[in-house]
Amino acid sequence: MTAGLLFASVGVILFALGVAGVLLLEHLLRRILAFNIMGSGTFLVLVGLAQRNGIADPVPQAMVLTGIVVAVAATALALALARRLYVLTGKLELSQDDEA
């Protein structure tokens, strides 16, 4: 097993972990953490799988850089919204009742 494939596999696990976290966790900050872990997992798969034969590939690396920027933007946005919600309602969870 090459390093690329190993990290790609871990990426898969991290992705699954992150998605489960986003879906199951109530607390908004934790959800944001989960989303970041999900993103990291995806990035690992992107680079790891492409480099499974051990040759560095700049294209997925550049894509991951783009992805990281997007993830930072999304994280900041989510934090801003969460903090705003907290200011307004004193809660950091989305209530279940309006979900149905």
């Binding site: 990291s40 850089l65 903090r83």
Partner: protein
């Protein structure tokens, strides 16, 4: 099993563990600290994947910005609860 593989294996196990802890920790501050640790490990992983550019970005963002953002949010939370 080569040393490199052992290193990688240890690294990924730690990554998964820290990710898991940052999601499952009962206290939020622990979760955030664990997440920062996870970010540092990611930087190591990128180094192992010969992607120093991403390593740089991860180090700058993970250590410098996201961590600070999260901690700041956590702090705002704490202050309000007092």
């Amino acid at each position: 099993m080569s040393l490199e593989f052992a290193f990688d294996l240890l690294l990924v196990l730690t990554m998964v563990w820290s990710a898991w802890r940052s999601l499952s920790a009962t206290r939020l501050d622990r979760a955030i600290v664990m997440f920062i640790v996870f970010g540092l490990l990611m930087a190591l992983a990128w180094a192992r994947l010969s992607a120093p550019d991403i390593g740089l970005a991860e180090a700058a963002i993970g250590a410098g910005l996201t961590g600070a953002l999260l901690l700041d949010a956590y702090g705002a939370l704490q202050r309000r609860e007092i």
